[in-house]
Symmetry: C2
Subunit: 430 residues, 2 copies
């Protein structure tokens, strides 16, 4: 699958939200060739291209989900709203039986939801990343993957070995990028945190870690190490421009300064933080004021329980406004986080519609009850606050059409077959 | 339109979420006749009914939007995220030019969004309620309407006259219910608040009022009247079982007691409160603990910017969890608020799927990427946290099919025509 890469001509786009200095273009053609945006012009002559009539469509950069556990879609809604320890036990009961095949199927189901709602790349942390890689390659989405360091479950040396082999296998892959996944400072000891850091340095890979998610974590870090979590990472020497810090609901102002100094990257998961009542608050305004690159993540579909990045953008703004009692952060900021800022984090040329950039694009149907009445002046607002992933009609990754709503039914049939197998797997434990 | 009322047979429903003591039925038939739920049984023989094959569908009670300003869809995204005073000025500039025709068109566009996302009834406050009534009757949705008391704009005596004529006209209407709309305690003087109360008593109508939305409002009330806003209403004698209090972001604990004692009803608008950064916090847990009937509202589409009650339910839970640092309020609570609790507020027998109740129902497609894998045990969770109004395939009000996704394109064409006229109207002001 996805071996041919025809030229794709997006003809007569109603609007193009470039995320390039706020520019919104109208009635232009966009030519995609060899995985990149080859040309943007009023009129481009077609050759033997795939031509998409975009007169009703809004073209925007693909959305990046900077933190998830895709295969946890298996556990969507499972014992939801139960007491936290009941929920965690029930989850673990199922997770302890996981196989690569189940992770493959669940990843595929999650990716189907992602591509159909406009996500073109995701950063993942879960068991059996080979299985998720297989699903991602089949569906044509960009995936940032690696086996997780988590001492309480997996042997460090095994994970190191697996990671090295994963790196070798995907070194040159155009869609799959290896990363160093480190579960947390409370599930990994110092030796593990350091070993992971060493691999991150040696291979120049993201060091992706959950940090300062709960009050308990922060208090225990302070008690055990005498410093706050981000300070702790810095003391170990693993806070760098490669570090991708997820959650930070309990981060201090001086840790934010440290993040800026070290040029570390950050992911905010508003829905998950709210739904799990982890409390604390992600200080987005302070992060942005310091020029820290902040992306958005849905977190796993068992704690969200959606992979729709449109919903995440809206929730991000709502949460900031609720907690600051101010309207500083707005629709365009959220859209930046999900596109151009995320690309900075991943270090790839997506997130912006500009000649020479990678052709990771999403087409929205502007003829939608949700977004009417639509004009250029309310477009960004309606995309972030009114649209959902349901407005996506086409998703393009690396110049290839990976989702086309006109063929939604076929994907749905596949999803139904997968769901049945996942439900059987869950039932087996009972 | 909508003059015939055929029997409708919902055949082989995959799941029926009754909201009746938590019961979820599987593989049953539901017969609708004369606007009510006539029968629920394993197998119902058909006569000359409209038969809907529901083997892939989840049947649930229709959602009630307990507070909105539907026609403000005209201003969706208009100068959004601008400074508050800029936004309000720009809004008012357009609103001052409103005509009944524009309100009719905008109401229709809003109702199209509502019925296509599962809303079967809405409580509205806006100018030219006759125009909104016309749109509601044409679309077949239940609407609670009345001219607004707002001294700074409209003359009290004129509003009283208009309301009395509105009441006479719709006294016996099966879908349109007159209500007493009172904008707020800071835009209406005591005489108006009392006159409105008198009409509410005399005709036994809801007394629908914005209250304790902002800190400023509460402080000024305290300064001017020596008491908090709900106390003030009580002192005037207009706090009763007919009072519908909207927002209450700054309500005190003793006002909640007063609300319980007077059996007043309450509407929570989480998205609007967050987006407008009105701050404060709606104490849902305390309200529920006191047995107060609480409904959910989107507020106007200019401050939300969506009319999708599915999104509102999720945001309601997220907000509570964020502010309480607890998970007490869950998916089922939110669904109750949008259905059975809302029906208590409106005083009608909807919100529950039970023999003899009004046939206001919504059909969701269970074969949706958003909701998979789906089982009985995760159904409610997936409906509230994962689904959106985009999962709605059919909406039934008073036994009539008012929305059928297979005919979505026709509605869309109408919406596009309306949008063009609304955009022209906005442009005229420039």
């Amino acid at each position: 699958m996805h071996t041919t890469k025809p030229r794709v001509l997006l003809r007569g786009c109603r609007f193009v939200v470039t995320m390039d200095d706020g520019r919104i273009l109208e009635k232009v053609d966009i030519l995609l060739e060899d995985g990149i945006i080859k040309e943007i012009a009023e009129r481009i002559d077609e050759k033997d291209d795939v031509v998409v009539n975009c007169s009703d469509y809004v073209v925007m950069p693909g959305l990046v989900n900077c933190h998830t556990h895709a295969a946890m879609v298996l556990l969507r809604g499972y014992y939801d709203d139960a007491e936290l320890h009941v929920w965690l036990n029930k989850m673990w009961e199922v997770e302890s039986r996981l196989t690569p095949d189940i992770v493959y199927l669940a990843s595929k189901l999650a990716i189907l939801e992602m591509i159909s709602t406009g996500t073109t790349a995701f950063v993942d942390m879960y068991f059996f990343p080979q299985a998720t890689a297989k699903a991602a390659m089949e569906m044509g989405i960009r995936a940032y993957l690696g086996p997780p360091f988590i001492d309480i479950i997996l042997d460090r040396k095994e994970v190191m070995k697996e990671l090295e082999s994963f790196i070798k296998q995907y070194e040159k892959h155009e869609l799959i990028r290896p990363i160093v996944n480190v579960h947390s400072i409370y599930t990994c000891d110092e030796e593990t945190l350091l070993a992971a850091g060493e691999l991150s340095n040696r291979y120049d890979l993201l060091y992706h870690i959950h940090i300062s998610e709960t009050r308990k974590e922060v208090f225990e870090c302070k008690k055990k190490h005498g410093v706050f979590p981000v300070e702790y990472l810095d003391r170990l020497g693993v806070l760098s421009e490669r570090t991708l810090l997820v959650h930070l609901g309990w981060v201090t102002s001086w840790e934010i300064e440290l993040i800026r100094e070290r040029k570390a990257k950050v992911v905010h998961c508003p829905t998950s933080n709210m739904k799990l009542a982890t409390a604390g608050f992600f200080p987005l305004k302070e992060m942005l004021a310091q020029g820290v690159a902040v992306g958005l993540g849905t977190d796993g579909p068992a704690s969200n329980n959606s992979l729709d990045m449109f919903r995440e953008m809206k929730t991000c703004v709502l949460l900031q406004r609720n907690n600051y009692w101010r309207t500083d952060v707005g629709a365009y900021d959220a859209l930046l986080m999900a596109t151009a800022e995320a690309s900075k984090i991943l270090g790839i040329r997506t997130g912006m519609i500009r000649r020479g950039h990678l052709a990771d694009l999403v087409l929205l149907n502007s003829k939608s009850l949700r977004m009417m009445p639509l004009r250029k002046d309310n477009l960004v607002s309606n995309m972030v606050y009114s649209a959902t992933g349901g407005n996506v009609v086409m998703t393009i990754v690396n110049g290839r059409i990976v989702y086309d709503r006109s063929r939604h039914e076929e994907l749905l049939e596949e999803a139904i077959r997968i769901s049945e197998r996942l439900n059987n797997f869950i039932a087996k434990g009972h």
